[in-house]
Amino acid sequence: MQEMTYRDALRQCIIEEMDADPEVFVMGEDIGRYQGTFRVTQGLFEKYGGDRIIDTPIVEPGFTGIAIGAAMTGLRPIVEMMTMSFSILALDQIINHAAKIHYMTGGQASVPLVVRGPGGAANQLSAQHSHSIEGWYAHVPGLKVVAPATAEDAYGMLRTAIRDNNPVIFTENPGLYSIKGEVNIGEGVSVLFGKARIAREGTDITLVAYSRMVHVSLAAAEKLAEEGISCEVVDVRSLLPLDTETIFNSVRKTHRAAVVYEDWKSGGFGSEIASRINENCFDDLDAPVGRVGGLNVPMPYTRNLELECIPNDSDVIDAIRKLI
């Protein structure tokens, strides 16, 4: 075990995978000579050179398409999006091409591609750099979509993503890059997709969250514990595939649930989770499933407005009080 930041855990995994497999490479904007906007790829250009750490022009559709074509021959590209907001430009390549190739070819071709990068609000990046669009991707059959909340999961899930033969959207909330955690590193360490994690055990209500909202939910749970309210926090980790069994089992134990997500509340992935709980656990519920999501507005620039948009522990506590 080693203490490291979420950012360093990602880099550590990339290094180990590039060392293990010469067919793994990284491409994206400013990932090489500039060392990466969020420094995940820091030092890699010096270590591997420009043939494997490939600086691209600022053209997401083009370079994502090139990575997909390369992946169809068996190469294993890791495409870094400078922010997931920019991956919107590449939606055609990701959704119309990567996600459907295995199906359209009747299983002849596969796309072992990872598209990773920061998704969600950072500090005052405003409307066009702050999207949480993992829910859009989790809508698409053929993609896998993950959103690790801890350094340990960042390391273990990136390994699984790189070795996966399907296209994986790997979203990293920029607010997580500097958090630290104990990480068990090494060749055999990975975190499989489709298995949620109980981040905190509790008995009165289940909070379902992923990525940075896991930490917000844990903070809320901590405060409510002082009042004697016991929250169970389920870290979804993997949106597609989604481990509904762990979520449902928790709800059947606590009989109440709220979903916490940074994405726009309306139509965000939390709505999907809430629907599934309703469909499957209706008889177990003592209250409607609550939702705490981002405000349905474009992300504003100024700090107090930005903070208003993103759910915080007080927002979660307010929601829980209404449900208990």
Binding site: F63, G65, I66, I68, G69, G74, L75, M104, G106
Partner: protein
Amino acid sequence: MAKPAHINKQESPANLEKYYRQMLEIRAFETRCNQIYRSGKAGGYLHVYIGMEALAVGWINSIKVGYDYVITAYRDHAQPLLMGSDPVKLFAEIMGRKDGYSQGKGGSMHIYDLERNFFGGWGIVGGHTPLGAGLAFAAKYRKEDRVTICYLGDGASNAGVFFETLNMAALWNLPVIFIIENNEFAMGTRLEYHAADTELYKRGLPFGIKSERVDGMDVLQAKEDAQRIVDWVRTNQKPYIVEIMSYRFAGHGAADNDRQLYRTREEEIENEKRDPIARLEKFMKSNNIMTEEKMEAIREEIEDWADAKLEEADKSPFPDVQDVYDHVYTDMEPEKGH
């Protein structure tokens, strides 16, 4: 302008017969595709290659089939047919049958035969061009001397992603040949109404990509151009653009019965005089390479061949309904049910 077409008399009689047979096979195959569409055995969209056969024959005969990479858009039956794909499996895919290359999941617009490095088969105009560059990227990454041929239409030459791709292909010296099949129409919009500069080969000039415009209605010319350019790209490891002047005799797609909304019958008749098959027949006859009787025998033989392949494909069942869940992922099933 297109270079003046000429006939390369260096080709052996055996090669001439081969090209003749190949063009006839494409036409016989495509004629039946139109028929099965009209009879309701094929649905969706279906785009045939009639009139453009020389573009496929000249180029596929100039690459190392099974080694080099080939990718195209939705007008995608001719290339795999030439690359040795099973015509029964091709017909079966177009009819949505279980024995098709994608077991009925792709249809006419999404033909793939990866065993032969034929990578499709794409329905988003211009969207496949970076994939073509990606195939070339893979060859370069692995230090292999494979060449990638990426076909696109004149309509796709306007796509932004194509320009992005050209920039990276030039920047990274990717061994990819972009063949702009200029059949004069982006669906039903004539070249001069969709392209500010109708000399499409110039698309590569801002990036320093070698490019030229050639005639695509003469198979021998196409073969000569193709071999020269494929060899150059393999040796020099750089991209290349070829604009090939052609004309599709059929509509954009099989459902396109109103093609005289955007062109006249007179224009069609005038262009049909450029028919690459008739042109080769004329050349072989006037040079005493093949008699009319021999040609007629070959035509009949190929018509019979196409009938037999279609008949066999028609015996293939439709997929089981449960197969709908196969091949969404390599290692797991999607959630089931409505």
